[in-house]
């Protein structure tokens, strides 16, 4: 049976269609979830897409974490549901305390969109098991508030526990501490990533096909996971 991957639409979500397309290209069935509906409709995994949820006039993700759907997602994530937060989704996961730290304004204060090389460092997560350790991938980054920060103890722990999923290589686009581009929770089912793998799934529209690995990873993970 095809895996069903939920893609949440908050008011102000922008890359929800792209995330759904990536899920489809990876071979799964995208299921659109609505911010106001706490029902997860039995999905096997969830993607929180990029965008500006609720306008993000307040701290990014600060309102979205209180959306009805997030209550269900937080509970399910604690029970092992694979959750990928991309950009705004990463911000929401931090606000929801599923991941440590926070995303702040880019150090240079500009929105920045460029094709970015990342090094995948943790391949044991639900979303990165299709990669090789140390593999370099090319994926677009585009954000205004993508500067990852946490206190030194948290950063040390993330590194010690192998929870830094990806780092920026060849230039840090936003000033993130220790070049961190993506992290995971202790269980490895929740991943937050600032760059946009869903924009690197078609040769015609992306700089590479490297993003597809995140979505095929979760399918592999679901097959291997106990039902």
């Amino acid at each position: 049976m095809t895996a069903r991957v939920g893609v949440v639409t908050f008011p102000g979500s922008l890359d929800d269609g792209d995330a759904a397309r990536a899920v489809r290209i990876a071979g799964a069935e995208p299921v659109r979830l609505w911010h106001g509906d706490p029902d997860l409709h039995g999905v096997d995994a969830v993607v929180l897409p990029g965008g500006f949820s609720y306008g993000d006039y307040l701290r990014c993700g600060a309102i979205a974490r209180f959306a009805p759907v997030m209550g269900s997602i937080v509970d399910a994530a604690r029970g092992g549901l694979p959750v990928l937060g991309i950009c705004n989704g990463f911000q929401i996961l931090c606000e929801a305390h599923l991941l440590p730290g926070a995303l702040t304004r880019n150090q240079h204060l500009h929105f920045r969109n460029r094709d970015q090389v990342l090094r995948i460092e943790a391949v044991g997560t639900a979303w990165t098991n299709a990669f090789q350790p140390g593999q370099e991938v090319l994926i677009p980054v585009k954000n205004g508030e993508g500067c990852y920060v946490a206190d030194p103890a948290t950063l040390d722990r993330l590194e010690a526990e192998g929870r830094v999923v990806a780092r920026y290589v060849g230039g840090n686009p936003n000033g993130s501490q220790r070049d961190i581009a993506a992290i995971t929770n202790e269980a490895g089912n929740v991943v937050g990533i600032m760059p946009h793998p869903e924009h690197a799934v078609e040769a015609l529209t992306g700089p590479s096909l490297d993003g597809l690995g995140f979505f095929t990873s979760v399918l592999k993970h679901l097959v291997g996971a106990p039902a």
């Binding site: 792209d18 500006f52 204060l109 969109n113 015609l204 529209t205 992306g206």
Partner: protein
Amino acid sequence: MTTHPDPALRETPGVVPQAGPADDWARGVDTVPRAAGTPEELQPYAELGLRDDEYDRIRHILGRRPTQAELAMYSIMWSEHCSYKSSKVHLRQFGEKAPPSDRLLAGIGENAGVVQVSDELAVTFKVESHNHPSFVEPYQGAATGVGGIVRDILAMGARPVAVMDPLRFGAADHPDTARVLPGVVAGVGGYGNCLGLPNIGGEVVFDPCYQGNPLVNALCLGVLPVDRLQKKEAAGPGNVVVLMGAKTGRDGIGGVSVLASATFDEGSEQRRPSVQVGDPFTEKLLIEACLELYDAELVVGIQDLGGAGLTCALTETAAAAGTGMRVWLERVPLREPSMEPHEILASESQERMLLVVAPDKLEAVLKTAEKWGVLATAIGEVTAPSPDGQPGRLLITWRDQEVVDVPPGSLVDDGPVYARPMREPADLILLQADRAETLPRPSDPEALRETLLRMIASPNLADKTWVTEQYDRYVLGNTVLAQPEDSGVIRIDERTGLGVALSVDGNGRYARLDPYHGTKLALAEAYRNVAVTGAKPIAVTNCLNFGSPEDPGVMWQFAEAVRGLADGCLELGIPVTGGNVSFYNQTGAAAIHPTPVVGVLGVLDNVADQVPMGFVPRPAGDHDQLFLLGETHVELSGSEWAWVTHEHLGGIPPQVDLARERQLAELLAEAARVGHLSSAHDLSDGGLAQSLVESSLRRGVGARVVLPERFAGGSMPFVFLFSESAGRVLVSVPRGHEKAFTALCAERGVPWEFIGVTDPASGALEVHGQFRIGLDELREAHTGTLPRLFGGAEAARVEVEATRTGTTTVLPATAEQPVDVDPAEVAAEPIAQAGAAPAETEVEATSATSADVADAPAADDAPADEVVADEAPTDAAGAAADAPAAADPDDSATATGDPDQPSAPDQR
């Protein structure tokens, strides 16, 4: 939903006032009965930009003096900005000369032109200006410029899918440019990014003529199923009028009538409240809500609220249908409860749409709005035309007081139309005689190498990544090509690969030297930029940025530009589908260069066939062959080289041959289709040298170029590399295809020349016998300029203030050096301007044109017989005053300050 008030009230405007005048004023409302009873009351029409004869006409139409609210409505609807009163007589050429097209589903006069691209799909696109607000308040001015054009596209029934921004600023190193540019770029990005629209191209141009008057144009592209096309007609008496979106506030009050239609000089600070404030989040919700309404077929008519706000939307929708309308103004949700009727009617608060809904669909409409968290309020209803066949009337009450009773068509269609006096600027002949071909040129390899490095680092030719990486180009996942490519290419049908290519171009210097051919050159460049991707050009939009129409010299430039564009489109066989005129772009008496910005849209049956601009990496030993298509002449006048090297502007711009452009486009489409092209790149500003550098740096693939024999000696290598002759394209052809490709060129009658090979291994650009420059050195020169100018800490500080406060870019920078301006004097300025406006029927003497002479370069050594005198006839006048509406109401802009003393003080 509601009942009518006493119909007698609105049918008898001449009725004796029910209450005494003093009572009405005490309540703050000037009512229709009161207006009828106090014919002698003085009204501030001149302050609102209306002339004596225009005011008399309003009184004649109404049979009484207008109420305060009515006066506000007429003043904004009859402003240059909304009425196109100076441009109408010229713009109708776009219709008269339009080549036949069976693709056009909606044309000029609609919110945006709609072009069918397949059996099921149509696209709509339009470019609009937001120039003056962006000078006063760069962040919000630019942001709301994007928001406004997006709503135009939305109103046609389309999903907006991409934006582009042609931007023009003063000198790159002028301190005020460091205030304006970062704010504008952040505003364009801030709004477009938050709306989820990829920014796929545009322009960033610097020229001192834009110092006090930057040009911020915004283009939006939308896609719709053919059967989802929406109408703006408020049809069907009894239907409900619904206002959806943001609350109405005082922002943008007078934005149209004060900011856009009268020149003022000092005190832009005081005008800040007139600039609207954008809320892209609300606009995003509005888009989704509207699209859901369209798909469920819940609306009869729809119109966006842009310039002139509710006034424009109410009168245009009613006038389009010939119906009347009954509006209860107190139902409009307000941000500030103290707003008065005329303020509500004039407010340009952003993110609002007006819907016309059948009563039985109202509940479903309100439910959809609620789902998306957008306000939707029934504020009125459509009323029947008069029994005698006359159109209905627009009747507006405010807390049971009748404040407006007008024929809606009188505001929309019966505005003044002027055939303003025109005269070729007196300095033009001297300017054209001062040819850049006579300037000293580099003639040895070392000088040529140095020239190339200097040119590619000059602000207009330098890499624009610093700007464009602030825009999201990936969102929606359909961007196939984006800047710095010649065109943006968007896939619009994932199933079939159908896509469109879009380019916007303009060259103010060419248009200054010859507005007729300069406009054709802009058209040719945009057309060629679309063609090099392999797309077939099918439609044109435009944004005509000019100085004051009251200056006969400017009016002549405008008429010539319109004539050039209309003629050009006829020659190319593609129609103008819509556009925008922006007048009053000047600083004091000095107008900007006439700057027609032309957008061309093309279709690609399969975006997979698209041709990019960059040379393609090949495995070791392999390479592509380089061909230059078109002919290179000694054409340096108006060129980037003349400007960068000699600060020279003079002569005749390059020749333009649209028949050849058409042949070239057809060749490129065919060559792309059969796979002859690895890359194709248009030649324009900076000539072949610029294209070689851009194509090399795009993917880091160098090239070896040989000079054709006739370009071998003296300064001819320079001419080959830097001439700006039109109709040329640099292509790279895979090995094995060259014979078939050149045969195709011959068959299509396109001149071609083999000029070298790509050199993937060399890491350098080499021009045989002249120079060899490493790609790293080229990249450093090309990419360093903008970060150096705008990437500093100070620019960043200004931007962060803008985005944090959401309103103010100017404050942090200007607070350090307050301007010494008397507020009373500033407030009085527009009055003086409006009052001083000359009567259009009078033939003006040379006073106004003399302004242009001031910046004419001395015509020193150019022999008079070199002047080409047989171009651009100067007798473009004689247009009738009863022209039909020829374009939709849009933005126009005004100038501020003096070029040498910008009203916003320098930061540094």
